[in-house]
């Protein structure tokens, strides 16, 4: 998951960045509202953490601009104010959730994960396909034989693929989601990680299929689907 952090306080900015990176997410950071609009113009994000009190262009204006431009990523609004009006206005403008300062990093991560899940139309916290299940919170992949050990990058790729089962994901979409301005994920890396995952998924009843000219798709094995039907 690639997240944009829009926060003007340097300590908070670093704290949020490190908390999200610890989850294996890709994080980009900007300091004010104008930079936030520039960032979303050139890059696709899965979610954004947006502070309301920003220099140059305030958070609500940024949010309004995003939604009017058709940007549909999840937005978690941060604010130091408790006033109900602020919260309501934030949610009405198009925020997915609201977090008051000060907050715990665990809550921030959990809320971000929840808003991202809701945006995908997924009700339960577990992603499942056939006998395979993945928990984004614990980054655990399980199949009939037990847990499948994953690296952080592999987990990020599995989460991305299992979030849209049977749908082809473009390579560029995968690269965007798994890169940040700090570490670019190359097309070659995508192929390497897909290959590693395929090896780990052997016998799980699920496979990663190459859709020529487009990208990759995760689906049930033909035998497995055949057995199932």
């Amino acid at each position: 998951m690639r997240v944009l952090i829009v926060e003007d306080d340097p300590a908070l900015r670093l704290g949020i960045r490190r908390a999200l990176q610890a989850e294996g997410w890709q994080v980009d950071v900007v300091e004010d509202g104008e930079q936030a609009l520039t960032a979303t113009r050139v890059q696709r994000y899965d979610a954004a953490v947006l502070d309301l009190g920003l220099p140059r262009l305030d958070g609500l204006s940024v949010l309004r601009a995003w939604r009017s431009q058709g940007e549909d990523f999840s937005v978690l609004v941060l604010t130091a104010r408790d006033a109900l009006d602020d919260r309501v206005e934030g949610l009405n403008t198009g925020a997915d959730d609201y977090l008051g300062k000060p907050f715990e990093p665990e809550e921030l991560v959990a809320r971000l994960r929840a808003v991202a899940r809701r945006r995908r139309g997924q009700a339960t916290p577990l992603l499942t396909l056939g006998r395979l299940s993945y928990s984004p919170a614990s980054r655990e992949l399980r199949c009939a034989d037990g847990e499948v050990p994953l690296s952080a990058r592999e987990a990020a790729l599995i989460e991305l693929l299992m979030a849209s089962p049977d749908k082809a994901l473009t390579k560029s979409r995968i690269i965007a989601s798994m890169s940040s301005w700090e570490s670019e994920f190359s097309p070659n890396s995508v192929e390497i990680y897909v290959m590693r995952l395929r090896r780990k998924l052997v016998g799980s009843g699920v496979r990663i299929e190459t859709v020529r000219g487009v990208g990759y798709r995760m689906c049930l094995d033909d035998e497995a689907s055949g057995t199932a039907s």
Binding site: D8, D9, A11, L12, L14, R18, D32, P55, A80, P105
Partner: protein, 464 residues
């Protein structure tokens, strides 16, 4: 203790009533007693006249026509024993008691005019009327004397006293409780107002109703309402300030919280590994910002409390010179020039808390270096009554709206992204007001940038 309004109303009323009632009763007693005396005297005089009509002239001189028994029946009184005598001035008794003497020194009196006097008697005092008549062709003087015991009059006086004073006393016992009740009734509306105040919750600062308030208390209640309204506004302002202060503190505190947790997490993952210097630097920065904000809040609270500080005479030029030296390093760091002319007004003294004054001026210089133009100039000016410290920077002119809003606590220019609490101008202004001075802010080409001027009254005991 101040007596209650009820007592204050009752005391004069009761004293007034008691005085008037006593005066009226005494007057009535005196008047009725006098009328009774006059009536008794007239009866006595009539008795004397009745006796006098029975005195005849004869060749042997004046004689009394009736016998002693008939004469006694003429002056008979059922209430008190009567005495009488008809006698000549030389002591000849025509009839009656020999011991009744005519009044002395009454020769000048006209004849047939009764003369009254009280005399002592073996059985008490006697009221005596003497009537001098002339009898026969020679008009021989004869005294007709009738006396009666004064106990009758005393008895009548006692009766009158009882008839007048007893009812007055009884009425008094009734009147006082009635007065108390009346005053209480009158004050009931006031009590109701005070009860409605007493029944209020501590948070209810709404205006008191004026409908049932008596005319006399209305101005008081209106003033209390005015006070309540001001109190409410002050409280709202305080609440807003506290909320704003909490809001301002939340951001650095959140940063500190996240970075501390990050250190703990990485410490657990890599025990013994040194902490990430970037995290430590930002943690230090956030703690510094929080500390600065807390210090600014304390400075503002101190300046708002005003009078609480340690006042002494302060040499402003010495203070400004020291500040200029202290701030040079900061100015250099941010690439600005800081110059001053504290010598333009030497030996100027003000009465202030020196640390509070320094705090206020520090904030003005800090603001100018942070938000102002490249050059910052400190000037000291004085006239007969005041001394002004001017902080002038050659930055962009500020709009009227910004000039107005920058006095509000926590306000910071929205388009700039610079550290600061937004309290500097508030602290300086509150301090200036606390020391009896004022703070002016001007901006535009006419002043050559933005000029913040803090003026304080010169110390009256200034060393010349």
């Amino acid at each position: 203790m101040t007596p209650s309004l009820q007592i204050r109303l009752l005391y004069p009323l009761i004293w007034l009533w008691a005085g008037a009632a006593t005066l009226a009763a005494l007057s009535a007693f005196w008047l009725v007693g006098r009328s009774t005396d006059v009536a008794f005297d007239r009866i006595l005089a009539d008795d004397a006249r009745a006796l006098a009509s029975q005195v005849r002239g004869s060749e042997q001189g004046p004689v009394f026509a009736l016998d002693a028994g008939t004469a006694a029946s003429l002056v008979y009184d059922s209430l008190a024993p009567s005495h009488f005598a008809v006698r000549t001035p030389d002591g000849h008794i025509l009839v009656g008691d020999a011991h009744l003497q005519p009044p002395e020194n009454v020769k000048a009196l006209p004849k047939n005019e009764p003369v009254f006097q009280n005399i002592g008697h073996a059985n008490g005092a006697l009221r005596v009327v003497g009537l001098r008549i002339g009898v026969g062709p020679e008009q021989t003087p004869v005294w007709v004397l009738v006396a009666e015991d004064t106990s009758k009059r005393q008895h009548m006086r006692d009766e009158l006293a009882r008839a007048i004073f007893l009812p007055a006393t009884v009425v008094g016992f009734v009147i006082v409780p009635l007065l108390v009740l009346g005053v209480r009734y009158g004050l009931r509306l006031a009590s109701r107002t005070s009860e409605s105040v007493a029944a209020r919750s501590i948070n209810d600062l709404s205006a008191l109703p004026l409908d049932d308030v008596p005319q006399e208390l209305r101005p008081l209640v209106i003033r209390i309402n005015d006070l309540l309204a001001r109190l409410k506004a002050t409280l709202a302002h305080e609440r807003q300030f506290i909320a704003e202060a909490a809001h301002q503190l939340r951001t650095p505190v959140s940063g500190i919280r996240l970075l501390t947790k990050d250190l703990m997490r990485t410490g657990q993952q890599h025990p013994g590994a040194p902490a990430d210097p970037e995290v430590l630097a930002e943690l230090n920065g956030a703690a510094g910002r929080a500390t600065h904000l807390v210090q600014q809040l304390l400075s503002l609270a101190r300046a708002e409390a005003g009078a609480g500080g340690q006042r002494q005479t302060v040499a402003v030029d010495v203070l400004v010179r020291a500040m200029l030296n202290r701030w040079q390093a900061v100015a250099l760091e941010v690439g600005k020039t800081l110059t001053g002319s504290p010598d333009s007004a030497v030996d100027v003294w003000v009465v202030a808390d020196p640390s509070m004054l320094q705090d206020a001026l520090d904030n003005l210089i800090d603001n100018a270096l942070l938000y102002g133009g490249k050059d910052c100039l400190i000037t000291l000016r004085k006239d007969d009554s005041q001394v002004c410290v001017e902080v002038l920077d050659n930055g962009e002119p500020l709009s009227e709206q910004v000039l107005h809003r920058m006095r509000e606590p926590f306000w910071r220019a929205g388009e700039v992204q610079k550290p600061g609490s937004g309290l500097g101008i508030s602290i300086a202004e509150k301090a200036a007001l606390a020391f009896g001075g004022h703070l002016d802010i001007d901006s535009g080409p006419s002043v050559g940038g933005t000029r913040v001027r803090m003026c304080l009254p010169r110390s009256p005991s200034e060393v010349n």
